[in-house]
């Protein structure tokens, strides 16, 4: 016989307290039934003897101390999983919302996952060709990596994510499955629609599982959304051996949901009011990317977050940067000058790039070319800073050459357009052509052999007329 508890003893924000309960486990899921017959899910966040504190995913609106009955499930939150999830749309807590009915599960899995044993991981080495020059050449995406996009409100991060999803040659030649899992946390209706439409237009929709929590949906559900999405991704990747690209947007809303929840629980806040465990909490999401030994699938994550006030030192981008394997930073200034994608090259980075490029992966000159482009572009910044003080006319010839290089680099290399898909050869050749506009003596990160092969000022001149 199942025990049902009538009534609640306290309601505080998204939290409710039940007294005199028996055998309640930490982290288990409970079901609240309201007087009008609607049901809500809740999770046990604290137990003390016979008292349990529950967070209600759908919010506590309409709850009173007497109108609910609570039933404990005896297990943590589990998501029903099946291959049929691709092509479907779910709510933030994993319920189908596309009107096509429930899925028939092959398996249930705990949405919190378990930490992956470092011994059981395979170090990611296969690069993903996104067809976007700035990413492929300078911050190469590797299969099994977690590479966030740091953006700001009003920048074209969503467009970039769609382009990556569309152009990414993630599947092997042997026709292995490729799928996208899309998790939206607290996004605007328009944004969710934009992604849906874009996937539809490219014909990718039947390969996409969408988990959507809109900005006016309950915040507690938002805490579950990335976990549901990643559980689905892990299942598809590690049990069905598919290559899964997970796009999570917007991690800042997720972190804000954590903060709201934490403060209603009365926890001691850390920086900017975010809970002290935000790092561990974010890590429990981001670390669920990778490749497991013995399976041919992979989970690659592209979380998107908007930096409040474009501030990269804000706790959310800051902690994210410490967990993820690099970052793609978007730049407002470039965006304003009409450059797409407005990738700010210098602060962007891919940590796994070094082992996934070069001979056998991309091309033998890749790392030198990338290094030299970085070094040269960073000198462009110095030259620009100087020019803003003394004027461009007064610059030395060397600095003028860098100013020129910077302009070409932004115009031809970073800027490429939404529909342009460049191969890695095209991208690297373009990089060398740009470097060839600089005097040979300035190229100090490249060895003689490669200079001889790729340095060609005449070709550059005809290219950038």
């Amino acid at each position: 016989m199942e025990l049902k508890y009538v009534g609640l003893s306290e309601i505080n924000g998204p939290l409710v307290v039940l007294d005199k309960v028996k055998d309640v486990a930490f982290d288990e899921i409970a079901q609240l039934q309201l007087a009008d017959g609607t049901q809500r899910l809740a999770r046990v966040v604290e137990v003390e003897q016979d008292k349990a504190v529950l967070q209600v995913f759908e919010g506590t609106k309409g709850l009173s101390l007497t109108n609910t009955t609570t039933k404990f499930s005896g297990k943590p939150m589990e998501l029903p999983l099946s291959k049929e999830m691709l092509g479907r749309i779910f709510s933030g807590s994993g319920k189908p919302i596309d009107g096509l009915g429930d899925i028939i599960p092959d398996k249930y899995m705990d949405i919190n996952g378990s930490p992956l044993n470092p011994v059981s991981r395979t170090y990611p080495r296969n690069y993903i060709n996104t067809g976007i020059s700035s990413i492929d050449a300078l911050m190469t995406l590797i299969r099994g990596q977690k590479l966030p996009i740091f953006s700001g409100s009003g920048l074209s991060h969503n467009k970039l994510a769609v382009q990556i999803a569309r152009q990414a040659k993630i599947a092997d030649d042997n026709g292995q499955g490729f799928g996208i899992v899309f998790g939206a946390m607290g996004v605007k209706n328009d944004v969710a629609d934009y992604f849906k439409r874009s996937f539809e237009e490219t014909g990718a929709l039947e390969r996409v599982a969408m988990f959507i929590n809109l900005s006016n949906d309950p915040i507690i559900e938002r805490i579950l959304t990335p976990r549901c999405a990643l559980t689905c991704a892990e299942y598809l990747a590690f049990e069905l051996n598919m290559h899964i690209l997970v796009i999570l947007t917007d991690m800042t809303s997720y972190a804000e949901a954590c903060r709201e929840f934490s403060s209603s629980k009365g926890e001691i806040p850390g920086r900017k009011g975010y809970p002290g465990y935000l790092y561990s909490d974010l890590a429990s999401i981001y670390e669920r990317a990778g490749i497991v030994k013995g399976s041919t699938g992979s989970v690659t994550q592209i979380p998107i977050l908007t930096m409040p006030n474009d501030d990269i030192t804000h706790p959310v981008p800051d902690l994210t940067g410490y967990i993820t394997e690099g970052q793609i930073v978007m730049d407002r200034h470039l965006e304003q000058t009409g450059t797409y994608p407005a990738v700010s090259v210098l602060p962007s980075l891919s940590r796994l790039m070094k082992d996934g490029i070069g001979e056998g992966f991309t091309r033998e000159d890749h790392s030198m070319c990338a290094n030299q482009l970085f070094a040269a572009y960073s000198k462009v910044q110095d030259a620009r800073a100087l020019a803003s003080v003394i004027g461009e006319e007064e610059l030395s010839d060397g600095d003028k050459a860098y100013m020129h290089f910077g302009k070409l680099f932004e115009e031809y290399f970073i800027n490429q357009g939404f529909d342009v898909n460049r191969s890695i050869e095209e991208t690297l050749d373009l990089g060398w052509a740009l470097l060839s506009t600089l005097p040979k003596t300035e190229l100090d990160r490249v060895d003689e052999e490669h200079l001889k092969k790729y340095y060609d000022p005449n070709k550059a001149k005809t290219m950038f007329q």
């Binding site: 055998d23 309640v24 486990a25 930490f26 982290d27 288990e28 966040v45 137990v47 003390e48 003897q49 016979d50 297990k75 705990d110 996952g113 378990s114 930490p115 992956l116 044993n117 470092p118 011994v119 059981s120 991981r121 395979t122 170090y123 099994g144 001691i268 850390g270 920086r271 809970p275 002290g276 465990y277 790092y279 561990s280 890590a283 429990s284 981001y286 670390e287 497991v292 030994k293 030192t313 706790p315 800051d318 410490y322 967990i323 210098l346 602060p347 940590r351 070094k354 790392s367 970085f374 960073s378 000198k379 800073a385 100087l386 003080v389 007064e394 610059l395 030395s396 100090d444 990160r445």
Partner: protein
């Protein structure tokens, strides 16, 4: 039997009990999760649990072990990878597959593997604490030496096993203590991880830890037994620098603690180190390495313990007379684990939510480094190199500031250098090393008598460049007089040609001290000659002007 009263994340409370003592290890719940007592009051005993507490219920049993949280020390530690509480991850994989399950109880060192032991003492010998009684090859590189526990009162050997093959739990020696008790000794011992292992005396560190990294060895050297911090924002190359040090430094043994860092990084260390061959010994680097991996998604309480587990292992090998280097990546994650636990205990926070005891914990950790004479009479050292990940790259935050107080070497990583892909991105202006004076004699004797002079000249060039840069940033180099232009150019050579080092280039990744000296000398000589040429030219023009 004591029962769980309440559960809040990794913190579990037991009500009305007097069974437990502070820092005692306990088993929590029917799954027997490992935990540690962190607070005892008359009403409640508070326990932090080192594993996930999902599914735990009030009323489940809590079992006392009577002993503090301890590490098992014995052969089988090297070439292994552990989690934060010394459970071998390879064994956990065999038990629960790719994902780590809770409540797995495995022995830290392989109980079945046999070691070829040589007993080095005879019946009648008198032993005291720290004396070595048995040796066995642990890997091809390192001979394991079993010693009497530092707490032992010592005694007389009354029985010894013949030389031969034994497992870690076989008795190889019996001693009779002064009070007449008999003690049986095996190849392993236990030691509480939060207590430093004693030594006979601390010696001054006068030998450098040679790393083959130019900016470290020459500009900012560290002594064996020293402490260093590497602070830097994300993407500045903390982990990269630590990998380089772990690969190339001339310590006998490396303890690499991945504390709350990325899982893929630990996998990389595992893979890379088993492929890399140590240049000094021609054996894979794993033969001299212990990895402690507590990745960011593993339980937070175990992250707090991982630092102590790591240093306890290091001290144990130090007591055998080895030189150990610890790479702790990153101590900020450890401090955050302290903060998280402290928050759950509802302690009064100090700065930025960190507990008020943060500085004392940090100092306790770094003070366990040192060059010592061991109880057994040999010399060994523990060098600690800790990465710090300051929030928002702001070095004024509490972890960086408190670490700065307790380390003698500060290698500050710089974002703008990293953006320009100048690696290692150690900023020579904001970094310092207090060891230069201590190591002067070594460098003069073993490398070249002019080493310190030349080093000083290089450092002068960089300092002068720094002052000039303020003008250059405003007006450009064109306005400078020729001798200052020369200085700027020389400083560029120092930066690009000497300080910057390519970790992926086969010759550049490790540079011997001798070559480092010659490189510096070349730059200094160039500067000297160029300056002379310049003044000749000036004089020539001046005299030419006069005759004109």
């Amino acid at each position: 039997m004591d029962k769980i009263f309440s559960i809040n994340g990794p913190v579990v409370k037991v009500k009305d009990t007097k069974t437990f003592s502070m820092q005692e290890m306990v088993y929590v719940g029917s799954k027997r999760l490992i935990g540690e007592v962190i607070r005892v009051t008359s009403d409640y005993t508070t326990i932090q649990v080192y594993e996930g507490t999902t599914g735990l219920m009030p009323g489940e049993p809590v079992e006392s072990t009577g002993a503090p949280m301890s590490a098992t020390l014995g052969p089988g530690i090297l070439d292994n990878i552990f989690d934060g509480i010394e459970r071998p991850l390879k064994k956990l994989e065999e038990l629960s597959g790719a994902f780590i399950a809770d409540g797995a109880n495995v022995s830290s060192v392989d109980p079945e593997k046999k070691y070829d032991c040589t007993i080095t003492v005879n019946v009648g010998d008198k032993l005291s604490a720290g004396d070595i009684y048995c040796t066995c090859p642990e890997t091809q590189l390192i001979t394991h030496k079993c010693m009497l526990s530092p707490l032992s009162k010592g005694g007389e050997v009354i029985w010894r096993a013949p030389d031969g093959e034994y497992t870690v739990n076989d008795t190889v020696l019996k001693i009779k203590t002064q009070s007449g008790d008999e003690q049986e000794l095996t190849l392993c011992q236990k030691w509480p991880i939060r207590t430093p292992r004693p030594c006979r005396e601390r010696l001054p560190g006068t030998r450098p830890l040679i790393t083959g990294q130019r900016i470290i060895d020459t500009v900012l050297p560290i002594a064996k037994g020293g402490t260093a911090a590497i602070p830097g924002g994300f993407g500045t190359g903390k982990t990269m620098t630590q990998h380089q040090l772990a690969k190339w430094c001339d310590a006998d043994i490396i303890v690499y603690i991945g504390c709350g860092e990325r899982g893929n990084e630990m996998t990389q260390v595992l893979e890379e180190f088993s492929e890399l061959i140590d240049p000094h010994t021609q054996r894979p680097l794993t033969d001299r390495t212990v990895l402690i991996a507590n990745t960011s998604n593993m339980p937070v309480a175990a992250r707090e313990a991982s630092i102590y587990t790591g240093i306890t292992l290091a001290e144990y090998y130090r007591d055998m007379g080895y030189h150990i280097a610890i790479m702790a990546d990153s101590t900020s994650r450890w401090a955050e684990a302290l903060r998280e636990i402290s928050g759950r205990l509802e302690e009064m926070p100090a700065e930025e939510g960190f507990p008020a005891y943060l500085p004392s914990r940090i100092s306790e950790f770094y003070e366990r480094a040192g060059y010592v004479k061991t109880l057994g009479g040999s010399e060994g050292s523990v060098t600690i190199i800790g990465a710090v990940s300051p929030q928002g790259s702001d070095f004024s935050e509490p972890v960086t500031q408190n670490t700065k107080r307790f380390v003698r070497c500060f290698w500050a990583l710089d974002k703008s250098l990293a953006y320009a892909r100048h690696y290692p991105a150690i900023n020579w202006n904001s970094s310092y090393s207090e060891y230069v004076g201590d190591l002067e004699e070594f460098y003069c004797k073993n490398v070249n008598e002019n080493f310190i002079d030349v080093r000083q000249q290089i450092s002068n060039i960089l300092v002068e460049e720094n002052t000039l840069m303020e003008i250059v940033k405003l007006m450009g180099t064109d306005v400078l007089p020729d001798d200052q232009k020369l200085l700027i150019e020389t400083a560029r050579i120092v930066r690009v040609g000497f300080l910057q080092q390519n970790a992926y280039h086969k010759d550049d990744t490790y540079v011997p001290l001798e070559k480092q000296y010659l490189m510096m000398k070349l730059i200094v000589d160039f500067y000297e000659l160029a300056r002379k040429a310049l003044s000749h030219m000036k004089r020539y023009f001046r005299s030419a002007g006069r005759t004109r």
